[in-house]
């Protein structure tokens, strides 16, 4: 019994020390420029699960908890907007079992996130579900709308949960709504501009600032139909080889440092 007590006390001390060190590192990084908007492609949940001998479903669950952890880190750093590619429209091609498991996870975690005292409430984060919503099962859509309604007055930060999303779908929807608004208002006969389409993008409608950094985990160096419009100009593309569920503050530090170097070198 005594060894167990000592072991659990040491674990607690270690966790406390790690938390304090993390907060200290965040304070140090916050002394420099911080990006307004960071987007994450949450890649590698399945490969992570296979590498640990776990079921794929557990990989996705661990991936969700890591998303929550990274969201908290970003908020503590004073990042104003975080976007996450949680589910692609292309992911509907996966096995029905996996898609169902992912939808179950989405419903469960959306409800969890908007509980009182949980991260959205604690930090004043407004949740926005960005994507082709009518492709979601009703139960997931209901959970999404509940979370959005509960957080609509939060104004410290925005969390864009992209599901189910593809950038081409978002751009095409923006093109459609732009055309429709012109058809509804015959008085404007000027040409449609890129700025007008941009204003109709779902991320713009949610009030998201321009995208400063896009991070993709698991070593893949593609955008995979994510935020193509938003990251096509001067967004820093960061490709980390770590699988998403293992992506942490130490992986994020060089990303923040690269951003700060860019800001400082552009002010010279």
């Amino acid at each position: 019994m005594l060894p167990q007590l000592i072991s659990s006390s040491l674990d607690w001390l270690r966790d406390q020390a790690a938390a304090k060190a993390e907060d200290a590192l965040i304070s140090v990084l916050s002394a420099g420029p911080i990006p307004q908007h960071v987007a994450f492609i949450l890649d590698g949940n399945r490969r992570y699960a296979r590498s640990k001998g776990m079921q794929v479903k557990q990989g996705h669950t661990d991936g969700f908890y890591n998303l929550r952890k990274m969201l908290e880190i970003c908020i503590k750093l004073n990042v104003r907007c975080v976007s996450a590619y949680a589910f692609s429209i292309e992911n509907f091609k996966r096995s029905p079992e996996e898609v169902t498991a992912l939808m179950d996870l989405a419903e469960e975690k959306l409800l969890e996130l908007c509980r009182q005292g949980d991260i959205l409430d604690r930090y004043g984060i407004r949740l926005v579900v960005v994507g082709h919503r009518d492709m979601l099962p009703e139960r997931v859509l209901a959970a999404a709308e509940k979370a959005e309604n509960m957080t609509k007055d939060n104004n410290r930060a925005i969390f864009n949960l992209c599901m189910p999303y593809t950038s081409r779908d978002e751009i095409t929807t923006a093109v459609q709504t732009t055309i429709q608004s012109r058809l509804d208002d015959d008085t404007d006969d000027t040409d449609i501009t890129a700025e007008e389409i941009e204003a109709h993008l779902m991320t713009s409608l949610a009030g998201s600032p321009p995208l400063d950094i896009l991070v993709r985990s698991s070593g893949v160096k593609r955008l995979s139909d994510y935020m193509l419009w938003q990251c096509s100009e001067n967004t820093q593309l960061q490709f980390s080889s770590t699988y998403w569920p293992e992506f942490g503050l130490l992986d994020f530090v060089p990303i923040i440092l690269d951003y700060q170097r860019k800001v400082w070198s552009s002010t010279k």
Binding site: S30, K93, I179, I192, I197, V220, C231, S232, L237, R261
Partner: protein, 325 residues
């Protein structure tokens, strides 16, 4: 305590900078495979996006980019890559399409049409650069679909005759791989892009669909109105005959100075629609930015280096595609 945080941050940055400076020294220096080497996967469509350091000299930049395109076109042909897109934000390449044709096409008198294995018709930009939309009017009230201004110039280059391989501009200094002897050359479709080929082209496409709908409304009020464009319909325009298809691999090539050491890639306005599934390659530590580079060799960096091209192909060959599944 904020002074302490700032001091610690300064220290972290100093250590990080040291790490970035010395990282290439300890990186494994495996020589990339030759251009014509067998690779498990080769891009069928390669793009090179030239992202310039803002303060560099304009004319110097222009020569650098033109020299680089000339080299890359030759390497693509040697490697068997049939499509190449080249991009720069400001339209240096778009304004220099005649110069590029001169540099890349074999002399007309040496090429017999029947010997060419490619239908080498040069396609000029659809509309001139100025913004008047006179060219976008339909030819008849019954409307052929209007053609949007996509700002893409496509040149088809035939197979290079073997005996003329050495007629390429004297500015080329690439090291011809000695292994495998004489590489076969491939016909090459070259798409010349600028910022206008990206977001503005999407806006132009939206205008085209809007005008089509309005026209249908005025032509015949009784028939069903055309519906708003779908993803495949938008794609058919942007990747169609007057646009360009999605590259398999984009090399983001930056000409940087040492103070921009090892910054992450940025797309610099490269057309977003076509970047959907494209592998992105860039050098974290471009050759020009290495501080220990010998001064006598800086004059040689008048274009992209062949080793970068070869490393990009090597990395592409190892990339895994799951397509959402």
């Amino acid at each position: 305590m904020s002074w302490l945080a700032s001091a610690l941050l300064f220290l972290i940055h100093a250590l990080y900078r040291l790490y970035l400076v010395f990282k290439p020294v300890f990186r494994s220096n495996t020589e990339p495979l030759p251009i014509t080497a067998e690779r498990s996967k080769l891009p069928q469509h390669l793009a090179v996006a030239f992202i310039s350091y803002p303060k560099s000299d304009t004319e110097d930049n222009e020569q650098y980019i033109l020299n680089s395109v000339e080299k890359v076109a030759g390497w693509c042909r040697a490697a068997g890559i049939p499509q190449l897109s080249v991009y720069d934000r400001d339209g240096i390449l778009a304004r220099s399409s005649l110069e590029l044709r001169r540099r890349l096409q074999p002399s007309p008198r040496k090429v017999e049409p029947e010997e060419s294995q490619v239908d080498c018709d040069i396609r000029y930009p659809l509309t001139p650069p100025p913004s008047d939309d006179a060219d976008s009017r339909p030819l008849s009230p019954e409307s052929l679909p209007l053609v949007p201004k996509l700002s893409v110039t496509t040149i088809c280059l035939p197979i290079e005759p073997a005996k003329h391989k050495r007629r390429v501009s004297a500015l080329r200094r690439r090291r011809v791989p000695s292994k495998g002897g004489h590489a076969a050359s491939t016909p090459l479709a070259l798409h010349i892009l600028s910022y206008q080929s990206g977001k503005p082209a999407i806006a132009a496409t939206a205008n085209m669909f809007l005008n089509n709908i309005r026209q249908s409304q005025t032509n015949d009020a009784l028939t069903t109105l055309p519906s708003l464009p779908s993803i495949p319909e938008v794609n058919a325009v942007l990747e169609g005959e007057h646009g360009f298809p999605s590259p398999d691999l984009t090399i983001v090539h930056r000409r940087l100075s040492a103070e921009h050491l090892s910054l992450p890639a940025e797309m610099g306005g490269f057309p977003p629609w076509q970047s959907r599934l494209t592998e992105i390659y860039w050098e974290r530590c471009p050759a020009e930015s290495r501080p220990w580079r010998n001064s006598h060799s800086t004059n040689e960096s008048s274009s992209i280096e062949e080793s970068e091209f070869r490393r990009a192909l090597d990395e592409f060959a190892h990339a895994e595609m799951r397509l959402g599944k």
